[in-house]
């Protein structure tokens, strides 16, 4: 796929995310919208996977450690043809397989059940260690949130991955600067975030997470250094693509209703038409 085609896919994902959370009346649109380019790049360009065989042993793995961005994950699984539109729109409904935070035992191609922040990355490390032990060449991609980076367990994992020289592991930080209660730098500052991960022994790249060209070229080039885990800081805007959600912590969670729902749909639909 060309960069332009991938950009179109990301715009399609944004529309699906908004449709999904509006249909559910609940959900976390902001972090799904901010991470759309990265997820699109992973699912449509970077990762090797076999849609006919979710359990193919040599597939690349994606762990959404920030499990609340499930609407984005499910939308991408739908775009890959792995769940129907009808299934996608059962998001968070009674009896659905799609909980607000993903359950790997219910949804094919979800590699890890996540939602409790600070847990998914460790599982990704375990998958990467297993790959090394078995001399397999699959890669593991983990997306963490910036609010999530306040969990102590993240830093236990930050110590662990370099110790095992996991150059088959890439952790992507969706750096949208916003958590539930406000801006991360007001709530519990993370900067200088790149320095911290470098100091822990990771090879770090700091990129514009909405530039598809930059996202794709960065993720295609992992590992950045042999024998070291890769860390990508994807600088993003929370709620990207919906004007009233952008950079507004009130829209970490919650679904737009009424006029705002209509406006959100108009904006993501217009963006898709423009591409």
């Amino acid at each position: 796929m060309t960069i332009q085609e991938l950009e179109h896919k990301a715009a399609e994902a944004r529309k699906l995310i908004i449709e999904t959370v509006i249909a559910a009346g609940v959900g976390h649109a902001g972090g799904s919208l901010s991470s759309a380019e990265v997820m699109t790049a992973l699912y449509f360009d970077v990762m090797k996977m076999d849609p006919a065989n979710p359990h193919w042993a040599d597939r690349d793995r994606f762990v959404l450690s920030k499990g609340h961005s499930s609407a984005g994950l499910y939308s991408h699984l739908h775009m890959k043809g792995l769940m129907s539109r009808e299934q996608l729109l059962t998001f968070r409904q009674n009896g659905s397989m799609l909980s607000g935070h993903p359950d790997m035992r219910k949804v094919p191609f979800v590699e890890m059940s996540t939602g409790s922040l600070g847990q998914g990355m460790a599982a990704g490390i375990g998958m990467a260690i297993a790959g090394k032990l078995d001399r397999k060449d699959y890669r593991v991609f983990v997306m963490i949130g910036d609010g999530e980076s306040q969990e102590g367990a993240i830093w236990e994992g930050a110590l662990c991955a370099p110790r095992y020289k996991l150059d088959n592991l890439t952790v992507i930080l969706d750096r949208n600067r916003i958590q539930i209660d406000g801006f991360t730098e007001d709530i519990m500052p993370l900067e200088p975030i790149a320095d911290k991960w470098r100091a822990f022994g990771w090879e770090v790249r700091d990129i514009d997470g909405h530039s598809m060209a930059e996202v794709v070229s960065t993720l295609r080039s992992v590992p950045f250094a042999s024998g070291k885990p890769s860390f990508v800081i994807a600088r993003t805007v929370k709620g990207k693509g919906v004007s009233f959600m952008e950079d507004n912590y009130v829209w970490h969670g919650g679904a737009p209703k009424g006029d705002l729902a209509e406006q959100a749909m108009r904006e993501v639909t217009a963006a898709l038409a423009k591409d």
């Binding site: 042993a57 359950d103 890890m112 409790s116 990704g124 998958m127 260690i129 297993a130 367990a153 994992g157």
Partner: protein
């Protein structure tokens, strides 16, 4: 009779099983001598993953390994596995049904004078309340070796619990551990003592003391605390009427609670729960602390005698 270390028994069994299970790997959180995982590290250094003092990360990494086809066996103290890393065990391991074996040593008050920070008198309650989790707490080296094999063969998460010290041999050649089944160590119909973990020995000794007085007490060792052998409990309740449970754990939430849940819902029998009486313990050796709670052959026998003088449960 000899006293043997269950930590060593488990470690030796893991080394034996490693050849049989090429996907078995061991994780350790900086306690390799205390847990005896050092034995595995010497024979299989390439399958030994030192995780440092990071129990939460260790549980998550174990989940990822299991979801990639490994059988990871984590090692740390009971207090850290069940409490420090509790939510990781619950969400990353139990919820995903990851095939992780959580081996813990120094359970109960067996860390002794190290103090309450290193005791685990809550872990059975915590693990029991987690869906998909199985729990085994063997009582002597023979039972541990058999339970270790069964736990590795079992598909799904298992919490394998033992203490710090040595345990008296109780199992004879006739006794066999079966996953999910009580082991009947003494026959009797006057009352039943149900034990788990190392107190299996005290339970048997109490029954032998009572036998000298002409009281015939059944002894069931319930090494598998979850899934509980309900049939054995119901048979004990209906055939002997009175049950004393014995565990190195708070009287809330552990074996006694599990047995009581079965007995109360069936509406038959009386239960006396013996354990740590819902407080943090004094300073002392494990044996001293257990004696403070009456968890001795004499103390257990006394509770059986008391229970025998209480009328059997009746309707209304």
């Amino acid at each position: 009779m000899a006293r043997r270390s269950l930590r060593h028994a488990f470690a030796e069994t893991l080394v034996e099983l490693a050849a049989e299970y090429p996907n078995l790997v061991v994780l350790e959180a900086d306690l390799q001598d205390s847990t005896q995982s050092i034995q595995f590290s010497k024979v299989y250094p390439d399958r030994y993953l030192q995780m440092g003092v990071s129990e939460q990360n260790m549980m998550g990494v174990a989940a990822g390994l299991a979801l990639s086809g490994k059988i990871p066996v984590t090692h740390t103290f009971a207090c850290f596995a069940s409490m420090r890393a509790c939510e990781h065990v619950r969400t990353s391991i139990a919820y995903t049904r990851a095939n992780v074996k959580i081996f813990v040593s120094h359970a109960g008050v067996s860390a002794g004078s190290a103090g309450t920070s290193h005791h685990a008198t809550e872990d059975l309650a915590i693990m029991r309340a987690i869906a998909n989790m199985s729990i085994v707490a063997p009582g002597d080296a023979t039972e541990m070796k058999q339970a270790a094999r069964a736990a590795i063969a079992h598909i799904g998460p298992v919490y394998i619990r033992c203490g710090a010290g040595d345990a008296e041999d109780v199992y004879t050649d006739r006794d066999v551990f079966r996953f999910g089944e009580a082991t009947r160590l003494r026959e009797g119909t006057d009352a039943t003592i149900i034990s788990t973990g190392y107190l299996m020995y005290e339970a048997v000794c109490a029954a032998d003391l009572l036998a000298k007085e002409g009281t015939r007490v059944r002894v069931l060792q319930m090494a598998t605390v979850k899934p509980l052998d309900r049939e054995a409990v119901l048979a004990a309740a209906s055939e002997t009427g009175r049950i004393v449970t014995v565990e190195e754990h708070n009287i809330i939430g552990g074996l006694g609670s599990a047995v009581s849940e079965v007995v109360a819902q069936a509406g038959i029998g009386r239960v006396k729960i013996m354990g740590i009486n819902d407080h943090f313990c004094a300073v002392g050796t494990g044996a001293y602390l257990l004696a403070q709670e009456g968890l001795t052959p004499e103390g257990i026998a006394a509770e059986v005698r008391t229970l025998l003088h209480v009328p059997a449960a009746t309707r209304g």
